[in-house]
């Protein structure tokens, strides 16, 4: 294995860990569709960047930031538009824009189509650095705003009514969410990054009995999904994103079975 792939694996582990941690909040807030919506926004942004010849990360960041801020504008109880309906509308818009962009590309579309599935070939040294930095930034964010994030998880309505700076923390969270998904997109793929957000967190919620253990378990499950997925993809020459998704789904299945068995035993 080339020494560069150790770096790529490291980036993969950080990517898996950060999306796993992200998932704790997205799944906990019962808005798993946020991941789909923002990842498709990042995908559309990347496609238009390729069309315009600019750095794909910038396009992905701008599009996902647009989606994140649009979602942040919907206030619980105040807006007449349900968050999940807004997510569906944004998702469809972004998917439409992405496929329109693919249609507009002249010549070979292999690079763009690769974005849908993810590939190690898209990983550059700069992306390894960016993924690592953003992963660390999110961990710092989760530590600094731990008490506010807990209330947001329990109830955004209570947070808003009782003077928690809910909108500020929620906007920051969505912005970071958009950036993390944008930089991880080339590795895992726009169609499958959603799974890396939901499966590790959902698995952690299945088996853990405490909030802290959910955070640790989801982060570790995310890292394991990415690492094992990478290795399988590398040795069997299979699409990276697909391998990561299957591993993360297997972890969820194992957790669900474990919970079932534990309940039967109790």
């Amino acid at each position: 294995m080339d020494s560069f792939f150790y770096l790529v694996m490291f980036a993969g582990v950080v990517a898996g860990a950060s999306t796993g941690l992200l998932g704790v909040y997205i799944v906990g807030m019962r808005m798993p569709f946020i991941g789909v919506c923002i990842s498709h926004s990042a995908m559309a942004g990347t496609i238009y960047s390729i069309l315009l010849g600019v750095n794909p990360v910038w396009g992905a960041a701008v599009f996902s930031a647009f989606s994140s801020m649009s979602l942040a504008a919907i206030r619980p109880g105040r807006s007449r538009l349900d968050t999940n309906v807004a997510l569906a509308i944004l998702f469809n818009l972004m998917l439409g824009l992405a496929f329109l962009g693919i249609g507009l590309i002249q010549g070979s579309r292999s690079e763009v189509l690769g974005l849908l599935w993810g590939s190690l070939l898209f990983v550059r040294m700069s992306s390894v650095v960016t993924i690592t930095i953003l992963g660390l930034v999110f961990i710092v964010f989760a530590i600094l705003f731990n008490k506010e994030l807990k209330v947001l998880l329990f109830s955004r309505t209570i947070a808003s009514a009782t003077g928690v700076h809910e909108s500020f923390v929620y906007c920051l969270f969505l912005a970071l969410c958009g950036l993390i998904l944008a930089v991880n997109l080339p590795l895992v793929g726009g169609l499958m990054i959603f799974s890396l957000i939901t499966c590790p967190a959902a698995a952690a919620y299945q088996i853990c009995t405490g909030y802290r253990s959910v955070i640790f378990a989801a982060t570790i499950f995310g890292a394991i999904s990415a690492l094992v997925g990478f290795l399988v993809s590398f040795y069997l020459n299979l699409p990276t994103g697909a391998c990561i998704v299957i591993v993360s789904a297997l972890i969820f299945a194992a957790s669900a079975i474990y919970r079932l068995l534990r309940h039967k035993r109790d």
């Binding site: 019962r30 731990n146 807990k150 329990f154 209570i158 947070a159 500020f168 909030y211």
Partner: protein, 265 residues
């Protein structure tokens, strides 16, 4: 700093063409215990949400201690609302998360502490004190989801009280509880009101659940205030019959008011 006064002036909340809440003028004084009653869809929950700024009315002003909430930006509004204890209906919070009872009650300290400041020993002393006062000490390490409905409601009250509130807003705190728990919860609320002199606004479907401390009742019907006054004034058969559209007899037993639908007797 909030002191517990709420004033609504010419407030209207509309949904499409329908007015779901219209309050011309209402003052809730500091330390008052106000019960909000009415039929389904009368606007009780909307009233509470308007009072704490969760719903912005189409017209009118809501003031907390003389400050118009609409004039404040999101940051200042949050600072202004940090002494509002709010207990919504169960559908508005996630009972499935693995928070322990202590973690949940500690959430009450979140808005009291500045951003980036973690909770300290003093905060946890306040949290443990409220857990103890509400008789939940033995349950403090249990997850919220493993508690009974009544214990969950107690935990939510402890969370709201840990916030050191000046206004306590409760949206049907006794729904889905058995009769014994219903009375336990209302007695706790009554006792807290007596001890802390916090302003309480409590929505209830059952008139018997409004404690004897509840000196003022607001009867809502189709979004409008049909009656607003002391218990004797509002709990008259002819007043209630206008809202509930049936023959009603009111009874007073041990300081609480019961209503009987005479159309079915």
């Amino acid at each position: 700093m909030t002191r517990g006064r709420i004033s609504l002036s010419n407030v209207e909340v509309r949904w499409s063409d329908r007015s779901i809440l219209a309050v011309e003028d209402m003052q809730i004084r500091q330390g008052e215990f106000v019960g909000i009653i009415g039929t389904n869809g009368a606007g009780k929950t909307t009233f509470l949400k308007v009072c704490c700024g969760l719903i912005r009315p189409n017209r009118g002003t809501i003031k907390l201690d003389g400050r118009d909430l609409a004039e404040l930006n999101a940051w200042r509004k949050a600072n202004f609302r940090k002494h509002i204890g709010y207990i919504p209906q169960a559908a508005e919070y996630n009972t499935e998360l693995p928070f322990t009872l202590r973690e949940l009650v500690a959430m009450g300290r979140t808005s009291v502490k500045a951003l980036l400041r973690p909770l300290n020993k003093e905060d946890y002393e306040i949290v443990d004190n409220w857990i103890e006062r509400l008789g939940l000490s033995e349950r403090r390490s249990q997850t919220f989801r493993s508690l009974s409905g009544g214990e969950q409601q107690k935990a939510l009250i402890a969370r709201a009280m840990a916030q050191d509130p000046e206004i306590l807003m409760l949206d049907e705190p006794c729904s889905n509880l058995d009769f014994n728990w219903k009375y336990q919860i209302t007695e706790i609320i009554e006792q807290l009101h007596r001890e802390t002199k916090v302003t309480v606004v409590m929505v209830s479907h059952e008139t018997s659940l409004l404690p004897s401390d509840c000196s003022r009742i607001v009867l809502l019907h189709e979004g409008k205030v049909l009656a607003d006054g002391d218990v004797e004034e509002v709990f008259k058969s002819e007043v209630l019959e206008r809202a509930y559209q049936c023959r009603i007899e009111t009874l007073k037993i041990a300081g609480r008011r019961y209503t009987i639908n005479k159309s079915r007797v």
